[in-house]
């Protein structure tokens, strides 16, 4: 039982990232009709926003310490962050410690701009082209983006710590009546789950309770009619592209302490997230979120040892297996609208 509870928590945690990326993918497909294979790269750029802010806050000046030697036997260069000299060692260290949460604010304008630039600069030229062309150009764009990141940050993962206050684990087991240390879960992963729930709720609220959101939803249902009413739906869809990019970026920012960011992390999530969108139903926002969490939980269960003993390798194929089963029995996906991408 305790093992199952832990895997449910793991699944919800993985599902949080899948759901946030898939939500953005669906928003873009639903509004602009574009299959954006560069969306994983946006997740990666978000994570590198956290890395960049951590480096910016850690910018240092060097002083020589003659009492210590470096690897060549020269006096050791001791680095002191400017921020610590400006605000004092304790305050400065504390600001650096909180660099990941601060990167949320830092990343939103960057991601909105990246999304806007992508849409206006490249993707808008492919609206009337076949989906295959869109996939090729956005996939190519993703490769370009990751190579740029690799050029400036290197190929190795870069450790990006969560604030000290969120290090360690919560003993869930004790709260549920189990023995101590049986069901423990890292604080930051719980924060990530709560954060994703907040972001997803905010996006749905924006679409459902604001005039802008209602117009966008109307445009998603019937773009032509909304256009005939004199509303510039294209401009709103461009803004939605920026918002979708920001959602993926935020998912990346908060993911940075879970696994050290590397230039390839977007590709690792892209295919899975795309499967999530298809399983949830192309164009269905609720479907994307539900499928994200569902597939995250299933993937975690498939990693359990007794299941792997019965079906070796199931952890590597479970998501695709479920996708095949769902598409065979319900081609429009779990919550897809009738007629959308069914043929």
């Amino acid at each position: 039982m305790d093992g199952i509870l832990l895997q449910i928590l793991n699944g919800l945690d993985k599902g949080s990232a899948y759901a946030m990326i898939a939500l953005g993918l669906t928003l873009i497909f639903g509004t602009l009709g574009v299959v954006n294979f560069a969306h994983g790269a946006l997740f990666m750029i978000g994570a590198f926003c956290a890395v960049s802010l951590q480096r910016l806050l850690g910018l240092s000046f060097e002083t020589l310490d003659p009492t210590k030697k470096d690897f060549l036997g020269n006096p050791l260069k001791v680095k002191t962050p400017y921020i610590e000299s400006w605000f004092g060692p304790e305050m400065g260290a504390s600001i650096i410690d909180w660099s990941v949460p601060l990167a949320i604010l830092f990343s939103i304008p960057i991601m909105l701009f990246v999304g806007w630039a992508m849409e206006r600069g490249l993707i808008k030229h492919f609206y009337k082209r076949p989906h295959a062309d869109q996939i090729l150009v956005t996939f190519g764009l993703a490769i370009v983006m990751q190579e740029i990141i690799k050029h400036y940050y290197g190929a190795n993962p870069i450790p990006t710590s969560a604030p000290s206050a969120f290090k360690g684990s919560l003993d869930f087991g004790v709260m549920l009546g189990f023995d101590p240390n049986v069901i423990i879960y890292p604080y930051w992963r719980l924060v990530y789950f709560a954060f994703s729930a907040a972001v997803i709720t905010a996006v749905f609220s924006f679409l459902n309770f604001t005039t802008f959101g209602m117009v966008v939803r109307a445009g998603m249902a019937d773009r032509e009619t909304v256009g005939l009413l004199g509303i510039n739906i294209d401009r709103r869809f461009t803004i939605m592209f920026g918002i979708a990019a920001a959602v993926a970026g935020l998912a990346g920012v908060m993911y940075a302490p879970i696994n050290s960011p590397n230039y390839h992390m977007g590709m690792d999530f892209l295919v899975l997230s795309f499967v999530v969108v298809v399983v949830g139903g192309m164009g269905s926002l609720r479907g994307a979120v539900a499928a994200g969490f569902l597939l995250g939980v299933l993937e975690s269960f498939a990693s359990m040892n007794w299941i792997k003993d019965v079906i070796p390798g199931i952890d590597q194929i479970i998501i695709y297996l479920v996708a095949i089963l769902i598409l065979l029995t319900r081609p429009r996906g779990l919550m897809g609208r009738k007629g959308v991408m069914e043929d």
């Binding site: 832990l6 993985k14 690897f71 993962p157 710590s161 049986v182 890292p186 992963r189 975690s300």
Partner: protein
């Protein structure tokens, strides 16, 4: 009026034979003019450096390239000479190899076997490389080693740790300076037993490919022989990024040691996840839970940040060693590039010098002569103490370092500390050892 005997069938046959002849790669056909593949005829000799320049190990590949460039400088008599000054063999004079200036070409393995073979083939066929070296993956090393055997050039392996490279997949034209998974197990197990006790329960997470399997088998055998019990061995997909669902089952067992048979990004993520789940603070039956990373790399350890503190593992070489050879190499490399070299840089630098030295001693670039000069060659002064290139399997036998993640690093490079130098005798095994069985060196191929 002329009569022609040309028939449709005859034309097809002739065409097929001619086509096959044209299509046959020139590297697989002995040239009547040259005694062996790519025999240098001018005033220079070309070496082929095949390293990952793109992909997840690109940083390791970049460090290898830096070391290769340094080795070429030293061979050509430029710079401070580095380990040429400390190498026990004095055949190299700083005037190139056999009087020919050393030049090089580079290829990108992309850490993919097919891409690595293609780039090696191109360097041999188009650039005339007489030797291929480099790489950061056992799968790639085994693939390129096979190609070099067919092509008739020497392959001096880079960073490859699988037992198979000089075990079941060994080749007469292939040579490995780097240590292997068996040696990691043999060096690490006694230290683990001394520090953590002989009655531990180990749980293995293993990358699901050739290196991971041999690493797991080696550590498992070595620790079990000292009394440890293996609770479970779980294979993890190479493409896995989040290891939480593989680590949480560890909490449900009575395991008190987690062995991470992972390298590169896998190692960074699995170790980070294990620390996140509180395994470092966990106690089982009144004893501290321990994590072990059998193969450490400083470049990769940087990615795991503070999580490596106190973690035991093994490594082929470390810049903090105090022997003459190490100090000469670190000084050369550090002065030129501004930071200390990695173990990948060290092993490829040594391989280049060892190849050049063998050519000088053999008096030829002929791979069979070079191979003969390397077989059974004993040397010192290259940073690993007394070393021998065993003739039976072309594996170097030398001291192995057991290292620990440093608690108080003084810089971003100062991440590991050497806790024990395991003597070569302790990590030496019989050429017919079951973990290395099934292979055959065959005979050298000169093309």
């Amino acid at each position: 009026m002329s009569n022609s005997n040309l028939t449709r069938r005859g034309l097809l046959k002739t065409g097929a034979v001619a086509g096959a002849g044209v299509a046959l790669p020139t590297i697989f056909t002995a040239s009547s003019a040259a005694a062996y593949t790519n025999e240098p005829t001018g005033g220079s000799v070309t070496l082929g450096f095949n390293v990952p320049q793109t992909g997840p190990y690109a940083d390791e590949g970049a460090d290898e390239l830096r070391a290769y460039q340094l080795a070429v400088e030293h061979l050509n008599g430029e710079g401070d000479g580095g380990m040429l000054n400390t190498f026990s063999s004095k055949a190299l004079k700083g005037n190139g190899i056999l009087g020919k200036k050393v030049e090089f070409v580079t290829g990108d393995t992309q850490t993919k076997s097919d891409a690595a073979r293609a780039s090696a083939k191109s360097m041999i066929e188009k650039d005339g490389a007489v030797m291929i070296t480099g790489g950061s993956s056992s799968g790639v090393a085994i693939a390129v080693q096979g190609l070099c055997q067919e092509a008739g050039v020497i392959f001096m392996a880079g960073l490859t740790h699988s037992n198979d490279t000089t075990g079941k997949d060994k080749k007469a034209n292939g040579f490995r300076h780097f240590f292997n998974a068996y040696m990691s197990g043999a060096a690490l197990a006694p230290v683990l037993a001394a520090r953590y006790g002989t009655d531990r329960n180990a749980y293995h997470l293993t990358a699901d490919y050739t290196w991971g399997w041999t690493q797991e088998a080696s550590i498992k055998a070595a620790t079990e022989s000292l009394g440890w019990n293996t609770v479970n061995t779980v294979k993890t997909p190479l493409a896995a990024t989040d290891f939480s669902s593989y680590i949480t089952p560890v909490l449900q067992t009575d395991a008190d040691v987690l062995v991470l048979n992972h390298y590169g990004g896998n190692m960074v993520n699995s170790l980070t996840n294990a620390v996140q789940f509180g395994l470092r603070e966990k106690q089982v039956n009144g004893r501290d839970f321990e994590i072990v990373v059998p193969l450490f790399s400083r470049l990769m350890a940087r990615g795991a940040g503070e999580n490596i503190k106190g973690i035991l593992g093994s490594t082929n070489w470390h810049w903090s060693l105090t022997d003459e050879g190490t100090q000469a190499f670190v000084k050369s490399f550090g002065t030129k590039y501004g930071f200390p070299p990695s173990q990948a840089a060290h092993t490829v630098y040594c391989q280049t010098l060892l190849y050049a030295d063998a050519c000088e001693r053999a008096g030829t670039f002929n791979p069979c002569g070079v191979g003969e000069a390397l077989e059974g060659f004993e040397f010192d002064g290259l940073g690993n103490g007394k070393t021998v290139y065993r003739a039976d399997d072309h594996q170097c036998f030398k001291d192995v370092l057991v290292v620990k993640g440093k608690d108080n690093p003084t810089s971003e490079f100062d991440l590991l500390e050497v806790v024990e130098v395991t003597p070569a005798a302790q990590v030496t095994y019989d050429p017919e050892h079951p973990m290395f069985a099934g292979g055959n060196l065959g005979t050298c191929n000169a093309g």
